[in-house]
């Protein structure tokens, strides 16, 4: 036990040192710059959602940004330095929560500590929170906490707290909304209990959205729900790199069509996975499956989405998380070195030779190709185990699952068609 705690504390300390380097050498650029502009708008009494494309996320983090901006003025320091404190703090809490969760799952202290460190020392989480300054780790922390409370409801109010915390997570970033149905069908609970979970989650989100909706109803909805993502990662990145060979153009002309087609395919696939998860006590595995399906099928991905699956994979002690992290590291390096070296290396970014250097495109291509292959294989591996549940279903559920499987496969046809067209045009 003592040894495990020593390992845990040492790992966190080393991670803080590495993260410190990225934070201290960072610049106020990219998303962090947008966060500062958003905070300034709110502090000026304006709804940040009226400036389209500035802030495509739900509103809760806006308050964190505004508080950070106020404190920045008070302390006379840089905004980019302080705003990165929150996601990195969340990473530390995730590590501690993972350790506690694994111990509850009867994992021995030392292996539990080592598995937990796989998160905090993971280059992907370090790059996302410390270099890029994205706050997906806060969302992951609340999601894992919600799962924990529902899995180990040692006190009665934990059952009420779990949906509220999930609602808070969705109010930071919308991605846990795609796993909400899994929470609803999880376990052997009565219908009123499931309905209460849904209502409490929605109520939390509603309360947080309300002031912004009252100010500018349309602008708020368009900013949050009109955002479909960018084709920076996954197979769209592979296609972008292939397209780049034609004449050094790094925007994929068919990106919007691909996002539209892949969104439908993902929704149908996710509905199928929810049915396969219904009534089973495999909440973590089901959440992981939905996220892996998203990363495999949907084409509008950003770099920071990679961290969503890490805590879930660690909780399952699935060794695929190591292969995933390895592939994601190469994909991240390729992405940042080519598109945004200033986000990765801060004030030292000029050592890369500047923006859009062709020499980094192969790293972006092979990194993302490897990441997509690993993600797809991981998905298939878990799905294979989950498919055994299928035999136990009643006939109507079986029929529905089969119908959704067919629809999902049909919805993949336009995605595959567009993909093949892009490959053909890029390689002729």
């Amino acid at each position: 036990m003592k040894e495990a705690k020593l390992i845990l504390v040492s790992g966190i300390f080393i991670s803080i040192l590495i993260r410190g380097f990225f934070i201290f050498t960072g610049l106020e650029v990219g998303d962090v710059k947008n966060m500062h502009d958003t905070a300034n708008m709110l502090l000026s009494g304006l709804n940040p959602y009226t400036n389209s494309h500035l802030y495509p996320y739900p509103p809760l983090y806006v308050f964190v940004e505004a508080a950070t901006a106020l404190f920045t003025n008070f302390a006379g320091t840089s905004f980019h330095f302080l705003i990165k404190f929150w996601p990195n703090l969340a990473d530390i809490f995730i590590t501690l929560l993972l350790y506690k969760f694994l111990r509850k799952q009867k994992v021995s202290p030392t292996p539990a500590a080592i598995w937990s460190l796989l998160y905090i020392l993971n280059p992907v989480t370090i790059i996302t929170s410390s270099a890029h300054g994205q706050f997906d780790s806060i969302v992951s922390l609340l999601t894992i906490l919600s799962i924990y409370l529902l899995t180990f409801p040692s006190k009665k109010f934990y059952i009420l707290l779990s949906p509220i915390i999930l609602g808070l997570a969705i109010s930071f970033k919308a991605n846990p909304a795609m796993i909400l149905p899994v929470f609803l069908v999880f376990g052997q609970r009565a219908l009123p209990e499931r309905a209460r979970f849904f209502l409490l989650t929605c109520l939390t989100i509603g309360i947080i959205f309300l002031p912004f909706l009252l100010l500018n109803f349309n602008a708020t909805l368009v900013s949050v729900f009109g955002y479909s993502g960018v084709s920076d990662f996954g197979y769209a990145a592979v296609l972008r790199a292939l397209w780049y060979q034609i004449n050094a153009e790094y925007w994929l002309p068919q990106a919007e069509d691909l996002i539209g087609a892949s969104k439908l395919a993902f929704l149908l696939g996710a509905a199928l996975l929810v049915i396969l998860s219904s009534g089973k006590d495999t909440l973590i595995r089901s959440c992981l499956l939905i996220y892996l399906l998203f990363l495999t099928v949907f084409s509008g991905q950003s770099a920071q989405y990679s961290i969503w699956v890490l805590p879930l994979g660690i909780l399952l002690r699935d060794r695929w998380v190591i292969a995933f992290s390895f592939a994601a590291l190469f994909a991240h390096l390729g992405f940042y070195l080519f598109f945004a070296p200033e986000l990765l290396l801060g004030k030292y970014f000029t050592i890369t030779g500047g923006f859009y250097q062709t020499k980094y495109m192969p790293l972006y291509f092979f990194g993302n190709l490897m990441l997509w292959v690993v993600t797809a294989l991981w998905l298939l591996k878990i799905l294979k185990g989950q498919w055994a549940n299928f035999q136990a279903f009643k006939k109507p559920v079986k029929s529905l699952a089969l119908a959704l499987s067919v629809l999902f496969l049909v919805s993949l046809i336009p995605v595959i068609n567009l993909t093949l067209q892009i490959i053909q045009a890029s390689t002729k």
Binding site: Y244, N247, A248, E249, T358, P362
Partner: protein
Amino acid sequence: MGFTKYESVNGNSLLYPFKRFREKIFRVPDQELFDTRFNELIYIANKKKTGFLEESVSRYISISGILMQNKKSSVSEKAKQNIKILEKLRDGYPANSLPWIQIQKTVDTTRRLQ
């Protein structure tokens, strides 16, 4: 003529860094590199892949500079042939356009090899 065929891997290819790595590992002679860079430049200019032209031009000028420093008289005849082809390529673009200027740079550099 100085140009016989395109290179199988050119500056626009995702496999290009592997080609450059192989050249460094096997210490390919400068004269051979000069021909390779020239062939790559022809491919990029002929296929109108102007987004890669600046890098191809830089690489060609770089190896030309190395040959100039080493005073390789054997490239003089090759340089003459290259100039003829480069001038033809240059004239495929509107006068004083960016690609025209970039190819003109290679003509000027190659002249110094004669």
